[in-house]
Symmetry: C2
Subunit: 269 residues, 2 copies
């Protein structure tokens, strides 16, 4: 899927919602047995309840790895459940020296057939470029993340006054076209979106931090959209755990629907 | 294992060698069938042939994840093969927002019982601190990596002239004591070791880049050691693939032995 095709799906669904699949047994509805296989039932119910309201799903590897090889098998089975017309973003924050990044790319793009993978930029070009050698696959590079710790290094000013994350964006946009590279930009930094759009006008942003982390969808849309939408808004906990009862899937749908309707209000698709 | 205990093992073995377990079927000795189960036989042979010459093993997750859930099971089985008196460093370069880092910490420290985990610093304090809540477990934080791309961001100068990686070391050393925090410092930057030791005199460094990547063991020892050794020198490919024949384990042992003897020559343990 390239950026034009993604934009067409966004228009068709009137949604640029991405739903994070972060299954945490401790937060599951009370009626689920606290066993790994419950994740399959939970994920299936969430996907069925929300698939017409979102264009992407983002399984977060930590929540599967915490269950060992069984968790990894559940991750693989979850990927099978996601309808073909949705972008699958593996949220794994990988990145290593070249020969190792090539193995991770093989794992996520060839073996698992994910569409996109989140990557950390700290190790530089040769840690990222192996992921960009695949056709119709996306690198989603960390730019300015939504958490408090983003101030520790990402916001440090370089000589000349540019914050590190801007240098990352400026450097990395040369590595991949807007058809193969997106950036993670947290919704908790609405004041930065206008400046960021100047640096990377054409690339899609994956935007976490709306909802549980307090970011404003309206501000993100106002300052972050481009003429092909250019945004994927992620919500995980706010949708998955909207209810702790047997109505969890209906509640998840309602939460997703509310976000999708807000998107229509703030964005002209 | 704390830093004193690690130093004692280093003294007892006269070695501060860490062996990277990066099993790549494409590079296996010719007589191994090209199937995932061969990795178990290969890893067992390597561990048996080298365990008296090293104090740590560092399995690299990419090489296991590339084989899906079966690879993850092989990773778990490999951990079981490593003798108890060796430090197990899971080379996974994880790091994410707090609730996700907590899940990764649970995966690697509780479920898999690894002793140490490599972590990327880009997302800042709240992405690293959850890993430091475990007793007798280590965070191995990326400082200055051995690859060419380390120049892209790690070596960028901040206002005032300090390179980013120094800021990372200076900031992160406050997060964890030398009994729970190490730094990755690549052997390909020998000119930086003296300055780095000024910033973090007491922490252990995990040093990749000797061997296949061209770093000098002598320079690393000269400028990087402290009074408790303070170094773990990693070698992966140079040992694992020392021979492509049926003598691969003997050749691996010889390559490890050569490094261990060089260590004795350059270091006073």
């Amino acid at each position: 899927m390239n950026s034009n095709q993604l934009f067409k799906r966004i228009q068709a669904k009137q949604s640029f919602l991405c739903i994070g699949l972060d299954p945490d047994l401790d937060r599951f509805p009370a009626h689920f047995p606290r066993e790994p296989q419950s994740i399959l039932l939970f994920n299936r119910a969430i996907i069925e309840a929300t698939k017409d309201l979102c264009v992407a799903y983002k399984p977060n590897l930590a929540f599967y790895e915490a269950l060992g090889s069984e968790g990894w098998a559940i991750f693989e089975a979850t990927l099978e459940m996601i309808p073909d017309d949705h972008l699958i973003i593996a949220d794994a924050k990988r990145g290593d020296i070249g020969n190792t990044s090539r193995k991770y790319a093989d794992a996520f793009f060839n073996q698992l057939n994910c569409d996109a993978l989140t990557i950390a930029p700290y190790m530089g070009s040769d840690s990222v470029l192996p992921f960009l050698e695949y056709e119709n696959k996306w690198v989603v590079l960390l730019g300015l993340t939504s958490n408090k710790g983003s101030q520790d290094f990402q916001s440090q000013l370089l000589e000349g006054g540019q914050p590190l994350f801007e240098k990352v964006l400026e450097t990395a946009k040369e590595w991949g076209s807007p058809d193969q590279l997106m950036f993670v930009i947290g919704a908790t930094h609405p004041e930065s979106f206008a400046r960021i759009r100047e640096i990377v006008p054409d690339h899609f942003f994956l935007v976490p931090g709306v909802g549980a982390q307090g970011g404003s969808l309206q501000a993100v849309c106002e300052y972050g959209m481009n003429e092909k939408c250019g945004l994927l808004i992620n919500s995980s906990r706010g949708i998955l755990y909207a209810s702790n009862g047997e109505d969890f899937a209906d509640a998840a749908r309602a939460a997703a629907k509310e976000l999708q309707e807000q998107m229509c209000r703030y964005a002209n698709l």
